[in-house]
């Protein structure tokens, strides 16, 4: 059961360039999508989210794009910095009405930003 899929286990990018992390989902009931960043020996840290009524949300260097018809979202990091090196998890949740639903996670993409 892979309702949320991150097909690239790893991504390597040069410092200053754009990082694009991709995520696909199958459940059309998902209404809220999140990206978490995880460093070793730490818990997932919330990065940015988007609700299904939007197609783009931006926060500083981070932008999330949602294509509902394709059931696809992506996280863009511009410019990438070495401190961005971490595992990035895509997560999805049913129900727009609140944040109390359980999150369904992808397997993660390990981003390495090289100086």
């Amino acid at each position: 059961d892979q309702q949320v899929k991150q097909n690239s286990p790893s991504l390597s990018v040069q410092e200053g360039r754009i990082s694009i992390l991709n995520c696909d989902y199958t459940n059309s009931m998902f209404d809220y999508f999140l990206w978490y960043k995880k460093y070793p020996a730490e818990g997932p840290t919330f990065l940015i989210s988007i609700s299904s009524i939007k197609d783009k949300n931006e926060d500083g260097r981070f932008t999330v794009f949602l294509n509902k018809s394709a059931k696809h979202l992506s996280l863009h990091i511009v410019p990438s910095q070495p401190g961005d090196s971490a595992v990035y998890f895509c997560a999805a949740q049913e129900g727009y009405g609140g944040s109390q639903g359980n999150l369904i996670f992808g397997k993660g993409t390990k981003l390495s930003v090289k100086p």
Binding site: L34, E42, S99, Q100, K107, G108
Partner: protein, 114 residues
């Protein structure tokens, strides 16, 4: 910035023993969760808790597991009669329940069953 804290960071237990994993959620949050991540696998939802009762649980959360909010600050996950396959990272999370506000995670407890 307020954070979710979990103790212990690492727990080693003999198979068949009971373990209690502890969490202190963010103080004004109302919803509490447990997730786990077996090595090399996805983060998986176990249970959510609101208003002193379980609001949702996954198939993983069977009779071996229980949760409790014993006082105004702690949220615990108890695993009775642990099995080798319970070895995993266990993450606690909390949220305020407001629309489009994220769940915030603790740093996890690494549970090793011998």
């Amino acid at each position: 910035e307020p954070e979710v804290t979990q103790t212990p960071s690492h727990q080693v237990t003999q198979m068949g023993q009971e373990v209690i994993l502890r969490c202190v959620p963010i103080s004004n949050h109302l919803y509490f969760y447990w997730y786990r991540q077996i090595l090399g696998q996805k983060v998986e939802f176990l249970v959510s808790f609101y208003n002193n009762e379980i609001s949702e649980k996954s198939e993983i959360f069977d009779d071996q597991f229980s949760v409790e909010r014993p006082d105004g600050s702690n949220f615990t996950l108890k695993i009775r009669s642990t099995k080798l396959e319970d070895s995993a990272m266990y993450f606690c999370a909390s949220s305020d329940g407001i629309s489009n506000q994220p769940q915030h995670f603790g740093d996890g407890t690494r549970l090793s069953i011998l």
